[in-house]
Symmetry: C2
Subunit: 766 residues, 2 copies
C-alpha cells in the first residue's frame, strides 16, 4: 500500500514533495547491485589488518615489526613512525593515528599490516612484538575523578575531557520555596551503533602524491579535514569517495581504518583494503557514552516545574573525539522540552580506559531524555497528575524560552503530545494487570547545535532538461539522496525520476562539513539544494522570458512545462528551453546555492545563546506487558508522534521512525556492551542483543506537520529524534504496569524481577 501511494503520486502528477516516491537507490539495494566500500577491488590491491592494544592502559616501550616484515606476502607494516608525529582530534588534540608512548584502551592502534591476502596479514599481526609496561586502568568515571587517580592523558588534569554549564534563573531560590523537590540519579549503559556494514576503506596513494580513499564514512568532508591535518596533506591531494554506506548512526565518521589504509598504501605503493570484522567493530569503534545523571527538580502542587538542577557525568572513554559535542547536546537538551525558569547544569566528560564514545543517533539526548522523562513521570505519579498533563502543563510552545535562553518559533510539541495520546488511546492507569502505558517526550535540534552549520550544492541541467545534483551530503541508508532529488525536482518543476543525486566525493562535491549527523541534511543540505535549484531555474526563466517576451517573474514551471501567469496553456517545455540554450546558444546552466544556519556557540559560563538551528519535538507512547514471573518486558505497541514540519517523503519518514524506535527499544531493554577492565566481553550480535525484526512490537508512526519557517518546504530533520524518547516511554510504561521504577538501562529481566521482588518485600523502589 505504501509503494502504491508513491506510484499514485507520480501517476496523478501531484506535487513531488510530500509524496512517497521510491528511494533513488531502492532497487539496487534490494537486488544486491549496490557497491559498498568493501566491494571495491583494484589491480594489485593488498589486504590490511590492524594490531590493537593488548592492554587497557600501558606504556609502550618498544614495537618491533621486523619479524612481521619478513613474512612472505607482507608488503608493508606501519606504526606511529610512518605518520607525522602529532596529536589531533575533533575538539581536543589528544589522539594519534597510531599509539606512540602509550595505549589508553584496547582499541588503540599500535601497528597495521598489508599483505597479499588477509590470512597472511593476520599471521603478521601475531609476529609484531610490542613491549608494554602496564599501567593501572580507570574504568569508572568516578574513579577517574578521584584526586589520586592516575592521569590517562598527562596534560589533562583530573582526567577531565570536557565540561559544560547552563545557568538560567536562580535554582536555589526556587528550591527554597518549592512545594515538592525530587532528586534522582539515573544511569545509561554503553551501546554500539551496530551498522550492518562494518567500517571499511580502500586507499590508493599514487606516485603523483594523490591519495584516493573509498570509504564507508558518514562525514567525508570532516574526515578529509582530519586526515589532511593528521597526514599533513593538502586537501587537493586527498579524495574521499563514497559509494553506498550500510548504516552509520553517527559511528562511521570515526577514522577506524583510513589512516592505516593510507599509510600502508603509501609504503607499499599498492592499493590497500581494510574491512573491520564484527568483533573489531564492537570493540574498537565508538560507542554511545554511558551517562550518570542526577536530576533535582522542584514543582508546584499542580506540576509546574519551577527549577531543575542537573549534574551529568559522561564516560568519555579513552579520547575526547566527538564526546565534547555529545556533552554539549546532552547539556542543551537535558532540561527536556519544557519551559523552566530556573535551570542549573554542570556537566563533565571524564576519561576512562574504555572504548571511546562517539556521536550516536541522538548525541547524548537519549541519555538525558531517559533521566528527565523518568523523573517527570515519578513526579506526576507522586503529586497525582496525569503524566500526559504534566507534560502539557510544562511544554515549550510558541514564544517559550528554553534552558539555553532561546525563544521557540513555529514549534509543534504539544501537537505531538495530543496526537500521541489520541491515537494510542493512552491511559494513565491501565485497566489490565501487568500492563501499562508510558509516555515520554523530547526536544532535539535539526542542524548542528552550538556552531554554524553549513552546506553547499550545485544543480546542473543536462541538455535534455534532466538534472544532476551535486552535494556533499552522504546517504548512509537514511535516504537523503531521495529527499534532495525531491527538493530539486519540486523546486525546478521537473520530474523526480529525472533528478540524479550524485554520491559524495570530496573532490567533486560542494562542501558539506558535518555529513550524516545532527539530523541536519534535510534542512541544511536540503536548503542548499533548493537554493541551487532556484539559481538554475532563474537562468532558465530568464531565457524563457527573452524567448517569449514575457516577464521572468510571471513565469512558472509546472510538470516540466513553462506557464505564463494566469494562462492555462503552456508556452513550451522546460527541456526544450534548456536544449535551445545549449544549441544553438551554447549556454550551460549550473546553479549554485548554500545554506548557513544561524546557530552559534553556547556561552561557556551560562550556556545561554541561540545554539539551536531548528527545534524538533516528539512524543512516544509505549504499551508494555511485564511477565511477573520472569521480569521480561514485552512491548506491545509504540506510538511515535513526530513533528516533522513537512514530510517530504512520508514512507521514508515512517521508515526512519521504525528504525529509530528499534534502536530506542534496544537501548531500553536489551543492548549493553559489557566490559571488564576495559575489555569488551560481548562483541557479537548474539550477545549485544540488538533487537531483531522478530522482537519488534507494532510501531505506529504519527506524522505531525507544523511547518518549520527555516526548513525547505517547512521540513525538519527527524533522523535522530525517532530513537530518543523510546527508552523513557518504555521505562514509564514498565512502572505503570508494575509500580516499580528502574533508574538504569537496560531494563533487563533481572533488574525488573529484582525490582518486583523488592517491591513485594516492601522495600521502596520508586
Amino acid at each position: 500500500m505504501k509503494m502504491d501511494r508513491g506510484q499514485m503520486a507520480l501517476d496523478q502528477k501531484q506535487e513531488i514533495v510530500g509524496n512517497s516516491v521510491p528511494k533513488i537507490d531502492a532497487s539496487i539495494k534490494a537486488t544486491g547491485e549496490a557497491l559498498f566500500a568493501a566491494d571495491i577491488y583494484l589491480p594489485g590491491m593488498l589486504f590490511g589488518k590492524i594490531l590493537r592494544s593488548k592492554h587497557a592502559h600501558a606504556r609502550i616501550l618498544d614495537i618491533d615489526t621486523s619479524k612481521a616484515e619478513k613474512l612472505p606476502g607482507v608488503k608493508a607494516v606501519v606504526t606511529w613512525r610512518d605518520a607525522p608525529d602529532l596529536k589531533l582530534g575533533m575538539y581536543t588534540d589528544d589522539w594519534q593515528f597510531f599509539a606512540k608512548e602509550k595505549v589508553r584502551y584496547h582499541g588503540d592502534i599500535v601497528a597495521a599490516v598489508a599483505a597479499t591476502d588477509i590470512e597472511i596479514a593476520e599471521d603478521a599481526l601475531a609476529l609484531i612484538e610490542v613491549e608494554y609496561e602496564e599501567l593501572p586502568g580507570l574504568f569508572d568515571p568516578q574513579d577517574s575523578l578521584k584526586l589520586d587517580a592516575p592521569l590517562i592523558h598527562e596534560d589533562r588534569p583530573g582526567n577531565i575531557a570536557a565540561t559544560r554549564k547552563i545557568r538560567k534563573g536562580d535554582v536555589e531560590k526556587a528550591f527554597a520555596s518549592a512545594e515538592h523537590i525530587f532528586e534522582d540519579t539515573y544511569q545509561t549503559q554503553m551501546v554500539d551503533h551496530c551498522p550492518i556494514e562494518t567500517h571499511a576503506s580502500v586507499a590508493q596513494c599514487d606516485s603523483s602524491g594523490k591519495t584516493t580513499i573509498w570509504s564507508s564514512s558518514n562525514a567525508p568532508f570532516n574526515n578529509r579535514f582530519l586526515l589532511s591535518r593528521g597526514l599533513q596533506l593538502p586537501m587537493s591531494k586527498l579524495k574521499i569517495v563514497l559509494n553506498n554506506v550500510g548504516g552509520a548512526f553517527g559511528g562511521k565518521q570515526d577514522l577506524m581504518t583510513e589512516p592505516s589504509c593510507i599509510l600502508l598504501s603509501k609504503k607499499s605503493g599498492r592499493p590497500v583494503k581494510i574491512v573491520v570484522d564484527r568483533e573489531e567493530e564492537f570493540t574498537a569503534s565508538t560507542v554511545r557514552h554511558p551517562f550518570t545523571m542526577t536530576y533535582k527538580t522542584a514543582v508546584d502542587s499542580k506540576g509546574k516545574i519551577l527549577a531543575r538542577k542537573i549534574e551529568l557525568i559522561q564516560d568519555m572513554g579513552a579520547y575526547n573525539d566527538l564526546g565534547e559535542g555529545v556533552l554539549r547536546y546532552a547539556s542543551l537538551m537535558a532540561a527536556g522540552p519544557y519551559e523552566i525558569e530556573n535551570v542549573w547544569l554542570d556537566a563533565v566528560g571524564v576519561y576512562t580506559n574504555k572504548q571511546v564514545g562517539g556521536v550516536m543517533r541522538g548525541v547524548g539526548v537519549p541519555q538525558v531524555s531517559f533521566a528527565g522523562e523518568s523523573q517527570l513521570d515519578r513526579i506526576a505519579e507522586k503529586i497525582g497528575v496525569d503524566p500526559y498533563e504534566i507534560r502539557m502543563i510544562n511544554a515549550l510552545e510558541e514564544g517559550s524560552v528554553t534552558a539555553n535562553g532561546q525563544k521557540c518559533v513555529g514549534i509543534g510539541f504539544k501537537e505531538t503530545l495530543k496526537a500521541a495520546k489520541k491515537i494510542s488511546g493512552y491511559e494513565w492507569k491501565s485497566k489490565e494487570k501487568n500492563r501499562g502505558f508510558g509516555i515520554a517526550s523530547m526536544v532535539y535540534s535539526s542542524g548542528a547545535a552550538g556552531r554554524h552549520d553549513y552546506s553547499s550544492a550545485v544543480v546542473k541541467l543536462n541538455e535534455d532538461g534532466t538534472v544532476v545534483v551535486l552535494t556533499g551530503a552522504p546517504d548512509v541508508g537514511q535516504g537523503v539522496r531521495t529527499t534532495l532529488a525531491q527538493i530539486a525536482a519540486q523546486t525546478l518543476g521537473v520530474k523526480y525520476e529525472n533528478c540524479w543525486v550524485e554520491a559524495p566525493n570530496t573532490d567533486i562535491s560542494p562542501v558539506d562539513m558535518y555529513g550524516a549527523n545532527a539530523s541536519r541534511l534535510t534542512v541544511v543540505a536540503g536548503n542548499a539544494v533548493m537554493s541551487a535549484a532556484m539559481d538554475a531555474k532563474r537562468k532558465i526563466l530568464k531565457r524563457a522570458s527573452e524567448k517569449w517576451q514575457v516577464k521572468e517573474e510571471d513565469l512558472q514551471i509546472v510538470q516540466g512545462e513553462i506557464f505564463h501567469q494566469g494562462q492555462s496553456k503552456s508556452l513550451g517545455f522546460f527541456k526544450d528551453v534548456v536544449m535551445e540554450m545549449h544549441r544553438p546558444y551554447g549556454q550551460t546552466t549550473i546553479g549554485t546555492g548554500d545554506c548557513i544556519t544561524t546557530s552559534v556557540p553556547m556561552d561557556p559560563e551560562t550556556g545561554q545563546s541561540e545554539a539551536v538551528n531548528i527545534f524538533v519535538f516528539a512524543t512516544h507512547v509505549a504499551e508494555v506487558e511485564v511477565d511477573p514471573e520472569t521480569g521480561l518486558v514485552k512491548v506491545l505497541n509504540i506510538w511515535a508522534a513526530h513533528d516533522v514540519g513537512k514530510s517530504i517523503n512520508p514512507v521514508n519518514i515512517e521508515g526512519q521512525i521504525q528504525g529509530g524506535v528499534q534502536m530506542g527499544l534496544g537501548f531500553a531493554l536489551t543492548e549493553n556492551i559489557i566490559t571488564r577492565n576495559g575489555k569488551t566481553l560481548n562483541p557479537t550480535f548474539l550477545d549485544c542483543k540488538m533487537m531483531t525484526a522478530a522482537d519488534m512490537p507494532e510501531i505506529h508512526p504519527i506524522i505531525v506537520e507544523v511547518p518549520e519557517p527555516k526548513g525547505p518546504f517547512g521540513a525538519r530533520g527527524v533522523g535522530e529524534a525517532t530513537c530518543i524518547p523510546t527508552a523513557a516511554a518504555v521505562a514509564n510504561a514498565v512502572c505503570s504496569a508494575t509500580g516499580t521504577r528502574i533508574n538504569s538501562l537496560p531494563l533487563s529481566p533481572e533488574k525488573v524481577l529484582s525490582s518486583l521482588k523488592m517491591k513485594s518485600s516492601g522495600k521502596k523502589t520508586n
Copy 2:
C-alpha cells in the same frame, strides 16, 4: 633539461602560466599506475565481443542468434532488435547502432555477445548465423557519383553525404585576365588514428535504470548526447566516466563499443566490458577521409594569387558520422593561409562501402594543405619566385580577409614564416645533391569552426585554500588537465601543485560538448576555467576586503598571499581567508564560469561568415635526402614554427609539436590503409607503417607568441596544427631534392623511384 626548466619555475616562484610545470598525470603514466577503461573490473563482469559484417555491402535477410545463446557461458546476445529502432548521426541520421536491413561496410555491427570469458564470446560470434544477400559495392567516390551507381543509403540520392560551397569574388573573371594559371589534382590516402589504447568501454546498467559507462572517449558529452538519443534514455540516467585515455587524435568519440556494452549489460543484468583488439581498431574505427582535390590557381607575374578554384571530393565511407564537419573544415581552410580576392569552392562528401571517415587531427586540413601548398610550390618554381617569398607575398596578416570573408585580428602567420626560415637556414635550392628544403604553411581554427563552441567550469576551493577544478574537458594524453590547472593556479594566485583537475564524468562535470577536438580545449575550456577561477577569487577578495577594511579592487593574490595595492607586505594568506570563511563563517566558495565562442555557421551558398573562433598559423620547413637508387626519402630535419599566442606550458607544446610532426611524417611518407573491395588488408601496426621513434628525424619546435585577444593569457590551441603542414613541406622538399613532384600521398619509395625514372626518361612529372 626540460624537466629542470619546470622545476626551476616552481623553485623561483615565477609565473605559473608560461612555465613547463610537470604534467598532473606524468608520474602515474610513467609508473603504469594510471588506469584506463580496459583496467576497470567490476564484480560479476562479463566480456563482450562484436560481430561485424562479412560483406562490404549486403542486405541482411536473417540473423539467427539461437545457437550462440545456447553456448554455455554466453549471458546475452544483442542485435538491432534490442535497441530502439531508429537511425542517428552527428550530422545526418544515417546510422543505426546495429545494422538492420543492410550492412554498408565491413565494420558494421551485426550482433554482440557477452560471456563469462572472452574466448567463449569469440566462439559465440562464430555461432551467429547471418543470412546476407550480397550487393554490388562502391569503393571509389567517382564510382559512387555515377548516375547508375547503386545507392548505399536509399534515401541519399547520388550517394552524396554532404556538400559545401565557398563563393568569394569572381574567379572566372580573374582567370580570364591572369598571367599564369595552374591546375592540378592531388590525392590523399586513408590513414588510421593509431591510438596506443584501442577503443574500450565497460557498461553497467543497474536495476534502477541508471547506466554507467567507463569509456575511452575523447568527447563524453557528445557521446552522452548520441547515446541518450539512440537508446532513448534521459541523460540523468546515463553517466559516462573517463579515467585516463591513451591517445585519441579525434578517433575516440566514435561509439565503437558503448552501445553494444550497454545493451549487453541491460540484457544480462551484469557489467560488460568490450576492448577492441588491434585488428578491429584498424578495420572498424574511423579513419582520415581520403580526398581528391583539384586546385586551379591564377597568379600574377610576381606570385600574387589572384584566384583559386577548388573542387574537393571526400571519400566519406559508409556513413556521414563526423564527415560533414571534416568537409566544412577542409572547405574553410582549402584556400590556405593567404589573402585571395577570388575564391570558388565546391566540395562534396560521397558515400562508399568503405571504412567510415571521422575527425582526425587536422580535420580535413592536412589533406587540403598538402594540395594547396604543393601547388603553391609548383607555382613558385615555375614563375621563379622563392617559395618562402610567395608565401610572404600572399600571407594573411592583420586586417586581411579570409576565403570565408572573415577579418584577421591579432594573427602571427608571417612571424612563423620568418622564424622557420631563419632558424632552419632554409634555402630555396639546396647546394647538396639529392637534398632539399621544403616549406609549407597552414591556417587552422582553435575552437569549433562553423558553430557556437562552448564549455563551462566549476572552481571549488577546499577549506585549506587548495583548489579543485571541474571541467568536462577530457585529457586524452595531450595534457589539458595540466593546462587547466596552470590557468586556475595563475588566475587565483595559488600554487600549481595545489590545483587538482578532476577527470570528466558527465554527471559531475560541467558540460563541455565537443571534447578533445578542434584544438579547442586550451581556449574554450581554458577560458571557462579562468572565468570560474575569477568568480571564486572575487568571493575570497570580498571577504578579505571586509576583514581588512580595504577595497576589493585594491587587493591581489600573489603566490598564495593577499596584498593591498602598493604595499610590499602581505595582509595575510589566501588559505587562511578561505579557512576562516569555512570556520566560523560557514561560507563555501564555488566559482562558476563559461565560455561561448562567437563562431557561427557558414552561409550554405557562399560559405561567408565569422565561422572561425581563433585563427592559428604555422609553417614547417623540412630538409630531406632522397636515395636515387631506392626512392627512399630520409627526412633529416623538421623545423615547426607555430604561433601559439602564449605558450602556457612550453614543454607540453613542444611535445605536441613532436607528436604532430610524427603523424604528419607518417601521412607524408609511409602510412596507408589499403583496402580491396572495402576490406582492409593491412590492419596491423607492422603493415600500417606508423613512424616509430627510430624513424624520426630531428624535430625543432619553434614557438612564436603573438598574443591572441580571445585566448586565456593570449593562448591559442595548437594540438592539431602541429601535424598539418608537414606532408606538404616534405613533398616540397622531395621536389626540391629531386626535381620531381608527386601529387598523391604517401610519398612511398615506389612512387618516388617511378617518378625519378619518368624524369630521367624525359617525361613530364611536374
